[in-house]
């Protein structure tokens, strides 16, 4: 039973928080408007070691543990939820893809769970409606059967997306597109786990920031003679949001330490998604009409979280996975040895 945070972790999280505060937060609207991040910012991000956190050192990554990587992504997402997606060129399946072809490390990669695609002898067909990338040099597709690599898949720019607009976005249209298998079901599952960690961390950071913004506003905004945070109806909502965020953070953190129990991660990802969506929407509500405007960041947090919650099979796939497997793990408090 451990709840810890050592000095090395704190230094790294401090660096992520500073990068977020100095380089992301003030500019996130500009990035969104441009639909991209400046090249020099990408270089700075990589130089600071925030890119490829989960990639092994042999492929130029930092080989961070799941817990620390998630904490860094989460800290960055507080400042701009789209940034860890837009500034990292490789995506969640990079480790296994680069095992197959290390030359792909310099290209722009993406990952998706192939829910509605048909994969046959002649290739892959179907549509991946939204990939948060301006350009996709390779696409890793996870199915129940394995992980598949598609090189230079046909893609075109999307219309304006709900959120994550700084990542631009493309639609990939596959018509018997050739593929190669990178790994079996276990490799696919590992990639999906990596995606759930990434998405969960981003949603947690974004929701935490939305809640902070809502609380700050609620202490400044006066109605009926006192700050709106001090009206019980709103005070209880803010207290509940803080509690749910804490619960989500703990559940997610505990799942990260159990690589042997993917259903715990699926459960945690689903829970984080549910909580983050609710906290973001409630945060907009706290600000009332102001929350609906670009003048405040809560509306962007709500759109970004909604988009992240749909990526890579989304929280829905995690819920489905958890429901499918819930009867396999009947002991909710195991007597461990």
């Amino acid at each position: 039973m451990e709840f810890a945070n050592d000095d090395e972790d704190s230094v790294l999280l401090g660096a992520a928080a500073r990068f977020g505060a100095d380089r992301l937060r003030e500019n996130e609207r500009a990035f969104e408007k441009a639909g991209s991040y400046p090249t020099e910012l990408v270089a700075e991000y990589e130089e600071l070691g925030f890119a490829a956190l989960r990639l092994d050192e042999g492929h130029g990554g930092s080989d961070m543990s799941r817990g620390i990587a998630a904490a860094v992504w989460s800290a960055l997402a507080e400042a701009d939820p789209a940034a860890p997606l837009g500034l990292d060129r490789l995506g969640p399946a990079a480790r296994d893809v680069l095992e197959a072809d290390g030359g792909l490390a310099e290209q722009s990669g993406a990952f998706e769970v192939a829910r509605d695609l048909s994969i046959g002898a002649k290739g892959v067909s179907g549509i991946v409606p939204f990939v948060p990338r301006a350009k996709v040099d390779w696409l890793a597709l996870a199915t129940r059967d394995g992980l598949f690599l598609l090189r230079e898949p046909p893609a075109h720019a999307t219309e304006r997306a709900c959120g994550l607009q700084a990542c631009s976005g493309v639609t990939v249209v596959l018509d018997q597109t050739p593929f190669e298998q990178v790994g079996g079901p276990e490799v696919a599952r590992r990639s999906i786990d990596e995606a759930r960690i990434f998405a969960g961390a981003l949603m947690l950071g974004a929701a935490r920031d939305a809640h902070a913004a809502a609380t700050e506003y609620a202490l400044e905004r006066i109605a009926f003679g006192k700050p709106i945070a001090h009206h019980q109806g709103l005070a209880f909502q803010l207290a509940d949001a803080a509690t749910e965020l804490q619960a989500a953070e703990l559940l997610f953190g505990a799942a990260l330490s159990r690589e042997d129990r993917p259903e715990l991660l699926a459960n945690a990802h689903a829970f984080v998604g549910e909580v983050a969506l609710r906290v973001a929407e409630r945060s907009v509500q706290v600000l009332g009409g102001h929350g609906y405007l670009y003048d405040h960041r809560v509306e962007k947090r709500m759109r970004d979280i909604r988009s992240i919650a749909s990526l890579w099979g989304g929280a829905t796939d995690s819920e489905t996975f958890a429901a499918e497997n819930v009867l396999e793990f009947p002991d909710a408090l195991e007597a461990s040895t």
């Binding site: 810890a4 945070n5 817990g67 803080a242 965020l245 619960a247 330490s257 459960n267 429901a323 007597a335």
Partner: protein
Amino acid sequence: MTDRCTRIDARFDAGFNNVLLMMRQFASEHLRPAGLDAERTGEPLPVEHPLFVAFNKTGMRFGMNPNRKKKKEDDGAPKEPSRSSRMGILAAEELAYWDQGACMSLPGPGLGGPPIGLLGTPDQKKRYLKDPFVDPAKPAWGAYALTEPGAGSDVARIRTTAVKDGDHWVLNGEKMFITNGARAEWVVVFATTDSSAGREAHRAFIVEKGTPGFSVSRVEKKMGLTASETAGLVFEDCRVSAEQMLGGRDQGGKAGFKVAMKTFDMTRPAVASMSVGIGRCAWERAVHVAREAFGPKPKTPREILLSDRLADARRRLDAARLLCWYAAHKMDHSEPNTVEASMAKVYAPRAALFATSVAMDVVGLAAVNDHLIEKCYRDVKIFDIFEGTGEVQRIVLARRLFGYPSS
């Protein structure tokens, strides 16, 4: 927000595991059957029920004492954090899993223990925390009486009065919802010396069974926790000596209130853990029923829907347990944990109620009639009410997190 942890591991070591297994063995053999006995009679377990002597013979003693002196370590090595809070909540969840009503009926000082442990004189500690509990063959109980018919969450409104009369205090008033109140050898009773002065005027007295003017007005019939006795107490010109004041003298101010608040930081995560235990009991039983009916994988739309709800309940129970453990972890590390304790108390009872309700859906009408799951559903509701309602916890959180005003 509270601190962030980059390394969370919910597994526990052999020491915690041994506590869990010890509790499991005792509770499965004694608590569950006793709880079902009470369900059959519809009455609290009688004082002569064999559970109580069986419990005493185990050597286990409940009644947390936050003021317990730690052994001094003079070898210069860094001190290991305490493990008692985490042990306590692990035990609380496991015992509640088997039967919380029977657990609350177990002999010991109960909630009266912590205030005497914190503020009592050496003589009071010996007389009330030690002597009555020496003989395992003679189960004994203590009790804690704060709540009144007109004052629950707002304890400043208590109306039981204490008036000084020479070397005595005279108590008048009524107390309600007192666990083990009718069988207790002694009760810690909160009263006011000036009803217009709020908490400043609150004082606590230890009133012994048989004291003239002290009587039991009723034993309540409740929705759940049937095995546990919940009593109403009456004080009519009840004279107690000045030495019966907690601490042996008038310490003035808010000492008593501060004791109650400090106690809550420890007891709220434990109470929240109990609700998790009850939720887990219903959840596991429902999963067992579902596996029998569905097989290992759900197939039909109904099976898939119910499995999804079971998974949802599992998420909430696991999150609730972690909130409890985190609050206890902070307590063990001597870190402030009022926020974490209230978060656990806000969240866990509702998560557990949801789990028991989902469990009833899984089992269907069969769960409505005399079934362990419906017992869990009835038992768990009170956890969002006692030890500070969910609404009181939200006020605590709002005060701590963003300065919600006290009045």
